[in-house]
């Protein structure tokens, strides 16, 4: 049954794939004063869990992912992968940025090869395979500008998987896509996740997407971001995207998250 939305509680010290402990961070603002962006984030994600973050724009979601990826050092707190401090460049953590980070001068295939080459490996067969798996096998030799927005996202997904990570950090990966492509990509991501042991932390603005995909939805407050509430999603697996919206649990959860999120958006 549906659990009560709980305010942030210290996550159980059970085995967590990814653990965030008391992470705070501020950026220097334009007027010389510091802007507090993250405010004591505590989070534990179990192995194989699919977690989504929703929250008002500018509340620090992308910043948190960058901290977890090791790109930004927090002012306080720490992030642990398999209970060891994260370090930038650990290929076990795959990060799909909010912005398009395909290399414009490299073909789709060369882009997918990049994470392998970065660590001195080569496996063209697998790279081609991944491109086929995400549905752009015919475009291996195309440059990013020759691809549509959805195809570019697919190539980025293939590149992410080529790295063979255990943890996927995905920052609004389907945000800019049209509704149909988005549904398709969600479905494919679910199938992919079900067939692997991947742990996913997924940022989105789309509540429907958050509920359909994840085991747990984390609601961020307005800046400075902290986890305001957490919701367990009581929907069975494996899920069919098109059936979820007619589930009464889905609707109830949607309304509850939306009411809470609306308050934060008004504050931000």
């Amino acid at each position: 049954m549906m659990q009560e939305a709980s305010t942030t509680e210290t996550p159980a010290k059970l085995s967590a794939k990814l653990r965030v402990e008391g992470v705070s961070l501020e950026f220097p603002g334009g007027d010389g004063r510091a802007i507090k962006v993250l405010n004591g984030i505590d989070l534990a994600i179990a192995p194989g869990e699919f977690c989504t973050i929703v929250g008002p724009s500018g509340c620090g979601k992308s910043t948190l992912l960058s901290v977890i990826a090791g790109l930004l050092a927090p002012a306080s707190g720490r992030c642990l992968l398999d209970e060891k401090p994260v370090q930038v460049g650990n290929p076990r953590i795959g990060y799909m940025f909010q912005s398009d980070t395909l290399l414009p001068w490299a073909t789709a295939l060369d882009n997918v090869r990049l994470p392998l080459e970065a660590v001195g490996r080569k496996d063209d067969g697998r790279c081609l395979d991944l491109l086929r798996r995400v549905g752009v096998g015919d475009f291996a030799a195309s440059y990013p500008w020759q691809l549509s927005g959805g195809m570019r996202k697919r190539v980025q997904l293939a590149r992410l998987l080529a790295q063979e990570p255990d943890v996927l950090l995905m920052d609004e990966p389907f945000g800019a896509l049209d509704a149909q492509t988005k549904l398709l990509m969600q479905e494919e991501l679910l199938r992919l996740w079900e067939s692997t042991k991947l742990t996913v932390l997924f940022v989105t603005h789309d509540l429907s997407e958050a509920i359909s995909l994840s085991d747990r939805v984390l609601l961020f407050s307005a800046r400075p971001g902290r986890i305001k509430e957490q919701y367990d999603v009581p929907l069975d697996r494996p899920r069919q995207i098109e059936e979820i919206v007619s589930d009464p649990h889905y609707n109830e959860l949607f309304v509850r998250i939306w009411r809470s999120l609306r308050e934060e958006i008004r504050l931000s």
Binding site: T101, W105, A118
Partner: protein, 256 residues
């Protein structure tokens, strides 16, 4: 008729009219030959020049000095640009000096280069390279700074080393800026070489111009200027070819 063809025909007509006016003015005795010469004399000189070994030796010397100056200046400039973009602090420290040297009319250094690098080709190459160096440095520095930081960050999360990021991300990403610098540098390298040759030396088109001017052989001066113009155009086209090859990945509309 295609657009480029008609455009070229009109250009040809402009040249023909210009040459006819020039010849006419000289023919009517409105100017003296040592001041403006005339096209027929210039072409006569060119005709004789292209079959003389001496002329080609000088073309070869000037071309070699220009290319060496271009390559040395570009390689050092690109390397310095990368180094300064990497150690941001050093650029902050050095910026006023770099800008002072960049703004300095470097042909004023020519006499010094003669002392340092000798009267031979070395001093010409050095002068050309010094002109090219700063343009390439500043262009490369800007190019590296303009890179979308997330391209670099994405590579970092994949575990890429610094040298991998320089080679595979920063270098290709700054290529547009590097080629923009190279296009300007062709002209600069030619200026450095010719000025160097004119000041002192035994060979080179600049030296030929200086001697011809001393003897008021204006036809030869114009002839060599035409040769230099042709040289500049050829070098520019060669550079475009290289750029198109390197930047093959670009959409058609962005190509040079």
């Amino acid at each position: 008729m295609s657009r480029t063809l008609s455009l070229n025909l009109i250009r040809l007509a402009v040249v023909a009219v210009f040459l006819a006016l020039w010849e006419g003015v000289a023919h009517l005795g409105l100017t003296q030959d040592f001041v403006l010469s005339r096209p027929s004399r210039v072409f006569l000189w060119l005709e004789q020049a292209v079959i003389s070994e001496f002329f080609w030796i000088n073309v070869g010397v000037t071309l070699r000095e220009t290319l060496l100056g271009l390559i040395i200046g570009a390689v050092l400039g690109v390397a310095s640009g990368f180094a300064l973009a990497h150690w941001r602090r050093s650029f902050e420290v050095l910026e006023p000096f770099i800008m002072a040297l960049y703004s300095l009319p470097r042909v004023a250094l020519a006499p010094l280069f003669l002392v340092w690098f000798g009267i031979g080709e070395g001093s010409k190459v050095a002068l050309a390279a010094s002109l090219v160096y700063f343009v390439m440095l500043l262009n490369t520095y800007t190019g590296v700074r303009e890179i979308d930081p997330n391209l670099v960050n994405a590579a970092r999360t994949m575990g890429a080393s610094k040298s991998f990021i320089t080679r595979r991300i920063q270098l290709p990403a700054s290529m547009t800026f590097i080629f923009a610098g190279l296009r300007v540098s062709i002209g600069l390298a030619l200026i450095g070489t010719i000025v160097g040759e004119m000041i002192a030396g035994r060979f080179g088109l600049g030296q030929m111009i200086a001697r011809a001017a001393n003897m008021f052989d204006t036809a030869q001066v114009f002839g060599i200027i035409i040769v230099l113009a042709v040289l500049a155009v050829v070098l520019n086209e060669a550079m475009k070819l290289i750029e198109r090859r390197v930047m093959r990945w670009q959409p058609q509309s962005k190509r040079v």
